[in-house]
């Protein structure tokens, strides 16, 4: 469980930040997110397939990707693009459900790309905010279960690593 010292440092952390440097031009790294053929190459980990990989890379467009684990387990993920600025920035939203399947959190994911000397620095900031009643209405009927995806993904990954 979370340590007390962690609590005191930043008790109200509600975001995740990841930075990666890739030895590739940023146009290509950006396209890794928007071109379904390229997304398919990395969205699932090794030995996974992506039987469904639908991306509508424009503002308001949806992403719907279903990963299939080597043992056949299907792991759906979906989101909505809210901002696209090629080749600098992508913002998309997804949702976390509570145990009853109600959307509980809206996660705003901002991906940025900067290039220097042929290498691209990519950052992901994921900010979790409580869902608003308006957002609840707009996501009704959408397949939004990222917490399930993540749980299953973690489960499958653990299996693979062993």
């Amino acid at each position: 469980m979370g340590t007390k010292s962690n609590l005191v440092d930043n008790p109200v952390r509600q975001e995740v930040n990841i930075t990666r440097i890739f030895d590739a031009p940023r146009e290509l790294v950006f396209k890794m997110w928007t071109d379904p053929e390229l997304v398919e190459k990395w969205w699932g980990p090794k030995d996974f397939k992506n039987p469904v990989c639908e991306l509508d890379a424009r503002v308001g467009g949806t992403m719907r990707i279903v990963m299939q684990a080597p043992d056949g387990l299907m792991i759906p993920t979906s989101g909505v693009f809210t901002e696209l600025l090629e080749p600098e920035r992508i913002v998309f939203k997804n949702f976390k459900e509570d145990d009853d399947g109600n959307a509980q959190l809206e996660v705003i994911n901002t991906v940025t790309f900067t290039e220097e000397n042929g290498k691209t620095t990519m950052t992901l900031n994921a900010l979790a905010v409580r869902i608003t009643p308006e957002a609840c209405a707009s996501i009704e009927g959408m397949n939004v279960g990222w917490n399930q995806s993540i749980d299953r993904f973690a489960y499958v990954l653990t299996g693979i690593n062993h």
Partner: protein
């Protein structure tokens, strides 16, 4: 009205209050003194924090002491940690894919 930890941290003033209380108990006035907003606004935030289960208030004589109950926040961290792992796993795969794509592009380029 439903109250949960995510609502508690939705407001920047409430996040500041929680950070202040994370280091120890304070009475309501000590908290209010740190803010430009009115005392009643601070009280309102404190009320929401208690309803969300993140702050408890105890009376001692005429003073009301506020104490943070931060254990509940672990609900958020657990999910965020998983979320981070989820993406890190994907980005490992992305790195590999980028290498393969570029190696292939180079090879195709050399053929021409």
């Amino acid at each position: 009205m439903r109250r949960d930890v995510f609502q508690a941290i939705a407001d920047p003033n409430r996040r500041v209050i929680l950070s202040m209380l994370a280091t120890g108990k304070l009475n309501v006035n000590q908290v209010a003194d740190q803010f430009d907003i009115t005392r009643s606004a601070v009280s309102q935030h404190m009320k929401i924090l208690t309803e969300c289960g993140l702050v408890s208030i105890t009376k001692k004589g005429r003073e009301r002491y506020c104490e943070a109950k931060l254990d509940k926040l672990s609900e958020i961290w657990d999910w965020l940690n998983q979320y981070k792992k989820f993406w890190e796993g994907k980005f490992d795969a992305m790195e590999q894919a980028l290498k393969e794509i570029q190696a292939k592009n180079k090879k195709d380029g050399n053929k021409k």
